[in-house]
Each structure stands twice: as C-alpha cells, then as structure tokens.
C-alpha cells in the first residue's frame, strides 16, 4: 500500500519576530506545516503496523524544500517526491493543488493521500479538497482518527458538536486535524539517515500541468485582529469579580 503525505514548507512560526506589525522572515529556519506533521505521523503509525506500507512525502515549493524535507524523512517517511521551482514561492492554493494533482498522477499506485486540514502559515484549507476534485477521488476532512480495514479507511471526523464515523473507499484523500496524534521527535540517527533516503525531484515543467498563472489570489497581510484592552486596575478580588460580572464574563 502506498500512502502519500502532502506537506508544505513554512517558516518556523515560533522564530518569527514582528516589527511594525510585519513579520520578519530573514534567517528564520524553514520547517513543515504543523498539521502536516500530524498527517505524516498518522501515515508512519500505519506503516509501523504494516510493513508493506510505503510512505512518500510530497511537496511543491522553492529549491529550499529539498533541504527542509529532510525533517519528514527523519520523522519516518520512506521517500520524497518533490516539485521544485522558485516560481512556486508565491503560488496560491489552486496552483499548488494543480501541481500536486499532476504529480500524484505521475506516481505509481497511490492508495491514500493525506493532507493537514490547513497549512501552518495561511491555513486556507483548500488544497486537499481541490486535489480530490482534480483527481476525481473521494475525500473526507476534519479527521481526528483513522484506521485501514479491508481495503478502505475508517475515519472519525470531529465536528463542532458530534463525532462522525465514516468509511472511505481507496484510493482516497483524507485531511487530518491537529489533535490526531503527537508527532514523534526524530532520533539523531534518523536525522542523519534522512538525507540518504530516495528522492525524486522534478522541475515544474516536468509535471504535466497547465497553469495559466501561479497566483490569482495573493495574501496581502496576515495579522491577528487588533484587540483593545480595557486596562482596568482592580484593588481586590471582590472588585475583580464585580468587574467580570458587570461585563457578563462570569455568571451572577
């Protein structure tokens, strides 16, 4: 069984500094999407239970992905399939989905494709669904647990007020949520082996995709909403409780 995990290269969000409400990306190390790491962990857990499973990590992005992807190979992926082109730097979800779908078509016998529910940086949450559409494959999202049974996947989707259990025929696409698992910390040995694992690297013109423009949408800014602090100073717990009650923040 072949599992493909699609992972996006993002700047390490913990190391970004903010100046004048703009993020500074200089010298920020690159990593892979946080939820993408949950997707990879899910695939590696399946592989550990069934040795016939092969896990391929798939990524499209600039040339630096080739180095960044070592993180996924250290965390248990068997090999990498990369579409690298510096032109992909600002590509939007539609373009990336087209590239990934074309790449998946070029891979042999893919049974299951895993995505993180959203990327670590922009969180558009579109790529998994778009790839499913382009490849005409079934897709489920918001998956919080999954197993493979008799040639199909059985998943639990955690929705706002219910858990839904579904079966999905394979080949199929699953987008997972962050709470699915705790991604492993790779050992030093695994980290050093990562660079030696098989890698297929294609340039954009080597995948069969016809994109008119790499970005019809552009993210202009990505900021937390400004919140106005009330800056009320209280002198006692009683006064604090009173204040919170009057704002209807705690029960009377």
């Amino acid at each position: 069984m072949n599992i493909v995990v699609a992972m996006k290269q993002i700047p390490d969000l913990q190391q970004i500094r903010i100046r004048n409400r703009q993020p500074l990306f200089d010298d920020v190390p690159l990593t892979l999407g946080t939820i993408d790491k949950n997707a990879l962990e899910a695939a590696v857990v399946l592989k550990e239970a069934d040795e016939s499973i092969k896990v391929t990590v798939l990524s499209a992005g600039n040339e630096e992905v080739e180095d960044t992807i070592k993180e996924a190979l250290a965390a248990g992926a068997d090999e990498a399939f990369l579409i690298l082109d510096d032109a992909l730097e600002g590509a939007d979800s539609a373009a990336i989905a087209a590239v990934l779908a074309a790449a998946i078509k070029q891979m042999d016998g893919v049974d299951l494709i895993l995505f993180g529910e959203g990327s670590g940086d922009n969180y558009s949450g579109q790529v998994g669904s778009r790839v499913a559409e382009l490849l005409n494959l079934p897709q489920v999202g918001y998956v919080s647990s999954m197993e493979i049974k008799g040639g199909q996947a059985v998943v639990t989707r955690t929705l706002e007020d219910c858990d839904e259990v579904m079966e999905i025929a394979l080949p199929g696409i699953i987008s997972v949520m962050a709470g699915l698992n705790e991604p492993r910390i790779p050992s030093v040995t695994q980290i050093l082996k990562a660079g030696k694992k098989p890698k297929e690297v294609l340039e954009l013109d080597e995948v069969d995709v016809d994109i008119k423009k790499l970005a019809f949408t552009e993210t202009i800014s990505n900021l937390a909403p400004e919140s106005n602090r009330k800056k009320i100073v209280v002198k006692s717990v009683d006064e604090l409780l009173q204040g919170l009650r009057s704002e209807n923040l705690i029960g009377r």
Partner: protein, 380 residues
C-alpha cells in the same frame, strides 16, 4: 568561514530542544528537589540517541560528531543541568574508550553505552587527590591474566548506574598509572550513598569502593603506563560536555532575565525601562554570544583533533572561560530578579546554585589556566 548550521544540525538541536521542553523542563524543579532524574527521561534520551551522538554507528553511535553533541547538550542543559551532567560524564567515559580502546573493547563496551542502556563513568578522583594525578593510590596488582584492583574513588558521576567505568590505578609492578575498563557492580565493586551536592542536582555523585576487583588483563585501556595520557586526552573531550552544559545554563539565565524584565512592572511599566536593567541584559547577551561561539567551536575542533596538546589547551581555556561566565551571568540574572531571584519559585535561583559546579569539575579553574599557559609557553 561559515557560522551556519547544516539542516541536520538544526534538526538535532530542535529534537533536543523539543524533548527538553516537553519532558524535562516541566519536572526540572522536581529533579532539583529530589536529586534524582526519573528513569523514563534517561530512556527517552536514549531512544533519541542522545547518549551516543558523537560516535561511529559501528559502535552504536549516531555518528553526528561533537559539533552536534554540543548543540543538543546546550538544549538539555538549559532545561536541567543534572540531566546534562549525566550525559556529559557518560560521554567523558565513553569518549576515553572511543579514543583509546581496541576494536574489541569498543565493540564490547560502547554499543550499549551509545544506546543509553549503559551509563558510563570515569573514575580518577580519590579522597587524597583531585588535581594531581601523580598522587593516585588505587593499586593494580598483576596476577596472571588479571589485575586485582583496590582503592577508593571519590565523587564519581554515574557510579550507581550499570555499565563500564574507566578506572585509573597504579600498577604495583612498575609504579606507573594505567587505565582499566571495569564493569560496575562486578564482584568487589560497591558504592556510597549519593553525595548531597550544592548544585546540578540529579547528576549523581558517589564514591566507589574497589575491594579485590578482578579485571581481565585485556581490559587495560591503552598500553600499560599510559594512564596519564588517557586522563588528559579523555578529559579534554569531557570538557566539551561540561562547556555545553554550562552554555545551556547561560542560555536559560538569559531567557529568564529578558522574560522577567518584560513582565515585572514598576509604576505600571516593565522594569526593562530602566537603563540599569538594560545594561545587565546587554551584558548577559554579550557573554552568551561569546560562550556560545567558543563552545560551538570546541565541538567543531573535537571532531578534527590533529594535535592532542593543542586540543587540550583549547578545551581548557573554553571550559574555564564558559564556566566562569556562567557564574557571572547567573549572578546578573539574579540581580535582574532582585530578591525573587533567590526564591525556589524562580528558575534563576537554581541556575545560580548550579553555576558554581562547572568550575570545580574535570580540573579546577586554576588547573585549566595552568594547562593553557603551559601549552602556550611550550613547556608541555
């Protein structure tokens, strides 16, 4: 000149950081109070190969070199100097076997050590001597294919964990100091209760009693009479761990100081507004940078030693400098905290108590300076 880390080094650093933040930091106060590191922590570090980072995979190591070892140890030391001390002292012993062991000795004694299933010790100090190896009184008497060891070793890290210990003893036959690989808890091996030391709690320190311990002659490490060389060269590598552990303390003190200066307020504004506080923070930042690059460089040098004497000098001056700065920096960090910095509720109190230890181990500060001056004046 290239000061950047490779992707692999970044990942090793991040793996150690993640493990330290998730599993060690939350119990670091407990480790300090109980003077004990839980077994699961050591097991977890073993699974990540943290006990064998520098060594060849042939002997069970990860093969990442001392440069990567430094990066990982800084992160572990930042969370708990006691945990880092276990790995540092272990790597001192393992490093001596790696540098001087025969192929058979390395295969036999390094593999489990690199996996963390064995925790290695290095036993030189005795009740009568620390700084002066010529005063060693532990004896090794040759009896056919064996040596019989008798003596007491003081302040030996990791002496209570199973695994090999490199013991220095005087051969009665020729009066020379030799090194031996002894299996801890073999017949005649016993240990004291752990010492209650002032800082670096969790890193266990015990005395070892050797009573007619029978060691096969093939367990002699390096040829007969080479004990002093094993000690000097082995301890030079050991200092890489001591520096990295200290560097972790420096990093922790810096982070705690900046955090506190931003959080603690005076008349509604953080105390970071005071120039006097800023000067302390800047000094800490300057010293961290100096300590960091000296330590990283020492790790880099340890991977490409050409002249052991020069390396001994570099290890001595780096260890002495970084450990001295740790004392200075943690004391500045306490000042930034005021009286709160003396309370157990604040991490800097522990960092400050831990800071004094580094200067006294693997050769006291004065001995490091004597090595530096001795090598540079060409008399050694």
């Amino acid at each position: 000149m290239d000061f950047s880390l490779s992707k692999e080094q970044q990942l090793i650093q991040r793996a150690a950081q993640e493990y330290a933040e998730k599993f060690i930091e939350p119990i670091s106060q407990q480790i300090d109070e109980e003077n004990q590191v839980p077994d699961e922590i050591l097991k977890g570090l073993g699974e990540l190969d943290m006990f064998g980072i520098p060594y060849d995979d042939e002997y069970g190591g990860a093969g990442a070199g001392y440069a990567s070892y430094v990066l990982a140890m800084e992160q572990i030391g930042k969370a708990s100097s006691g945990v880092a001390m276990i790995i540092s002292a272990h790597t001192l012993g393992l490093g001596a076997i790696n540098a001087f062991g025969t192929e058979e000795q390395k295969k036999k004694y390094m593999t489990k050590g690199c996996k963390g299933e064995h925790i290695v010790s290095f036993a030189f100090t005795e009740p009568g001597t620390g700084s002066d190896p010529k005063q060693i009184t532990t004896t090794a008497v040759r009896e056919g294919d064996y040596f019989i060891l008798n003596g007491t070793k003081r302040f030996i890290s990791n002496a209570g964990f199973p695994g090999p210990v490199v013991v220095f003893a005087r051969e009665t036959e020729n009066g020379k100091i030799s090194a031996f690989i002894v299996e801890k808890f073999c017949e005649g091996y016993s240990v004291s209760e752990p010492w209650k030391k002032g800082g670096m709690h969790g890193g266990p320190l015990l005395d070892i009693y050797l009573k007619d311990v029978k060691v096969p002659a093939e367990n002699m490490l390096a040829p007969s009479g080479m004990g002093y060389q094993v000690l000097q060269f082995g301890i030079s590598f050991g200092k890489v761990g001591v520096c990295s552990t200290a560097l972790g303390g420096v990093l922790a003190a810096m982070e705690e100081s900046f955090k506190y200066a931003r959080e603690k307020t005076h008349r509604d504004a953080p105390i970071a507004k005071f120039q006097a506080v800023q000067l302390k923070l800047a000094q800490i930042a300057e010293l961290y940078e100096a300590c960091k690059w000296m330590t990283y460089r020492l790790g880099w040098l340890a991977d490409r030693v050409k002249d052991p004497v020069q390396f001994a000098k570099d290890a001595a001056l780096t260890k002495d400098y970084v450990c001295q700065q740790l004392v200075e920096i943690t004391s500045l960090a306490v000042s930034v905290h005021g009286s709160y910095g003396l309370m157990r509720d604040y991490k800097v109190e522990r960092l400050w108590r831990d800071s004094i230890v580094g200067l006294q181990i693997e050769g006291v500060s004065d001995m490091q300076k004597m090595i530096v001056a001795g090598v540079m004046l060409g008399s050694k």
